[in-house]
């Protein structure tokens, strides 16, 4: 790991590593946090995570429904945006192709027959 590179890239000064939680009392008062979830304080703190702190696997779990409400909106937004982009692309493509085809047929109709031969 090149520490100089990391220092240069994340030059916000020292702070707690990713996942550092506030004390248990504070956490229990925060309705948005479920047990086991450590909220970070901001972008600079997140950016200073070492590679060892990154997730290296996804583990299947059951339960923990209480925490999912906020995530619902994020997932709906993500899938919604994906479908919005898709429909825009399909609509733009078919509209443009229809316009082009119409222009081409009109042009072919107007051209004298002998001029279309190579």
């Amino acid at each position: 790991m090149n520490h100089l590179t990391r220092l240069a890239f994340f030059a916000d000064g020292p702070s707690a590593p990713l996942g550092t939680a506030r004390n248990a009392e504070e956490l229990s008062k925060d309705p948005g946090l479920a047990p086991g979830l450590h909220r970070t304080e901001g972008a600079s703190e997140v950016a200073q995570a070492s590679p060892a702190d990154r997730s290296s696997q996804f583990v299947a779990v059951t339960g923990a429904e209480a925490e999912q409400s906020n995530a619902n909106n994020l997932v709906i937004a993500a899938y919604g945006l994906f479908w919005v982009f898709t429909f825009i692309l399909v609509w733009v493509t078919f509209r443009a192709q229809g316009r082009l085809k119409a222009r081409m047929q009109e042009l072919e109709r107007r051209l004298p027959k002998d001029s279309t031969s190579p």
Partner: protein, 232 residues
């Protein structure tokens, strides 16, 4: 029905079915991930990662079309370079919008100047600038060469995006790459299906956009010949 129309119809059907299947597999079959990975928000993973892969695929098509066009210009090569760039912008936009929404849950912030995010944004901006130029400036030889040059430049950046996590660290998970702990078997199956669905979708988009670019070229040729015929 001609051969290409049959293939096109089959591709449309297969793409629609696999995308629908991916949707149901994500919410019905794939288990919830741990909260550190975003919990329910980790469901975004099943199209976020395949979309990133589809962007790479589009970038490769753009690179091949662009390099071939720079070596020996032809309308077909330009069409594939253009469609590759357009598809890369589309999939890049999907990745750049879905990623931050997942990151909000997993990292606590929508955006951080993580090396992979930064290099991906750079690549999408390169492709977007090429597409915008072609859309608003025109289809002259200089514009075609410009798009081809940007197509090569944008794709050269793609391996940097891929390797940036290993080289410079950052927050991006290293789940399915070398050194990662992997995903559960059910998650792996859904992710694999996601790759299949997004590959078919990318091929469909590339084909559609290339066909449109070819039609535009044919129309321009026809108009030119029409003008010549009228002048005679």
């Amino acid at each position: 029905m001609t051969g290409s129309k049959a293939i096109y119809s089959a591709l449309c059907g297969a793409s629609a079915l696999t995308m629908l299947g991916l949707f149901f597999a994500t919410f019905d079959y794939a288990p919830l991930a741990q909260l550190g990975a975003g919990g329910f928000a980790q469901k975004i993973f099943y199209f976020h990662v395949p979309a990133a892969y589809a962007m790479y695929l589009s970038g490769v098509v753009c690179l091949i079309g662009s390099a071939a066009f720079l070596l020996k210009p032809s309308p077909a090569r330009d069409a594939w370079a253009r469609s590759g760039a357009e598809a890369a912008v589309f999939f890049g936009a999907v990745v750049l919008t879905s990623g931050p929404l997942w990151a909000k849950k997993a990292w606590g912030v929508y955006w951080t100047w993580d090396p992979r995010l930064t290099t991906l944004l750079l690549s999408v901006l390169v492709y977007a600038s090429a597409v915008l130029l072609r859309t608003f400036v025109g289809n002259g030889d200089a514009e075609k060469r410009f798009l081809a040059a940007f197509g090569v430049l944008g794709t050269v950046n793609l391996p940097i995006i891929h390797l940036s996590v290993r080289k410079w660290g950052g927050n991006h998970p290293t789940v399915i790459t070398k050194g990662g702990g992997g995903v559960s078997p059910e998650m792996g199956r859904v992710l694999g299906f996601g790759f299949l669905a997004m590959t078919l979708f990318a091929i469909l988009i590339l084909w559609l956009r290339a066909r449109q670019a070819m039609l535009e070229h044919e129309l321009a040729e026809l108009e030119e010949r029409g003008m010549d015929a009228l002048e005679q």
